[in-house]
């Protein structure tokens, strides 16, 4: 599945076995996206949350 980076417009390839919630990143600019929805073989992505102070193990 292919979609485009909203930062740099590069093509982002979303793996066919990707699931909602998975993180994909743009190979050109490094922007991270979360897979928001998969419908009709198309992946809808949204910008992933940025690291917060309380993130971790």
């Amino acid at each position: 599945m292919e979609t485009r980076c909203s930062e740099c417009d590069a093509v982002i390839v979303v793996p066919t076995d990707a699931i909602v919630g998975e993180i994909v990143s743009c190979k050109d600019c490094g922007a991270e996206y979360e897979v928001a929805e998969i419908k009709g073989g198309e992946a809808v992505i949204k910008p992933a949350d940025q690291v917060e102070e309380d993130w971790g193990e």
Partner: protein, 283 residues
Amino acid sequence: MKASITFDRLRWEEKALKDEADSMGIEASLVDAKALIFDISKGNGHGLGDVVVQRCISHYRSLFLTRMLEGAGAQVVNRYEVADLCGNKLATTMALAKAGVPTPRTFVALSSEMVEKAAEELGFPVVLKPFVGSWGRMVSVIRDKPTLQSIVELREELPNPVEHMYYVQEYIQRPPRDIRAVVAGTELVACVYRYAPEGDWRTNVARGGISKAFTPTPELKEMILKAAMVVGGGVLGVDAMEGPKGHVVHEVNNTVEFKGAQSAVEWSIPKKIMEYIASTVKR
């Protein structure tokens, strides 16, 4: 058996847990915590199955969600008390020390004025850590008073009042590695050395640390399992160091990341974790 694996950022670990659950015949769902809403004024009911495997990356989201789920009658791994204690370094250190688990000597200064006193009591270098946080983020080794003053000055500029209190720990002279143990219940699932990447003193896998498996001595194994029990048990990542006076446990992680440890062992860590979780479910 039905299980929900709650997450807010899907990592390899959550997918691996789901895969193992599937192969064990557990009906497991990955549930995005960010998509949940709760009416906390109402009684029981959560719809997340027999057990919830709490895997949120955000400490507070994890804590709040666990609190609400337990309030709604769910069994959550790990329990709220465990998450609360492990997520707060002050509470973890106190619990370990009280139970006699060797842990680095630590002072908490409740104002910037008292940080220097704490550092002088410990002797430089000291380690300054945030109360909440992980992956070695904002953790600094401070070798002298001027550096300490600079860092304190910076911290005082931050808007969060928690940053204006200080967790100051003795610096343990250790080899360029520490120990990560993955514990599930009373089982030591994996024990690895984590080597610091070049150019960093921190060994966190999130910072490029490399894992190598080893067999712990019976004494170390006992210390690790005791540390896990002291914080309330469950699925945990116990971190230890080899100090000049022996091993010390410096942290217990509530939402253990085990990708690094998995790269160093041949058995499946997520399988052992799911087997433990399945064994705790009340039927």
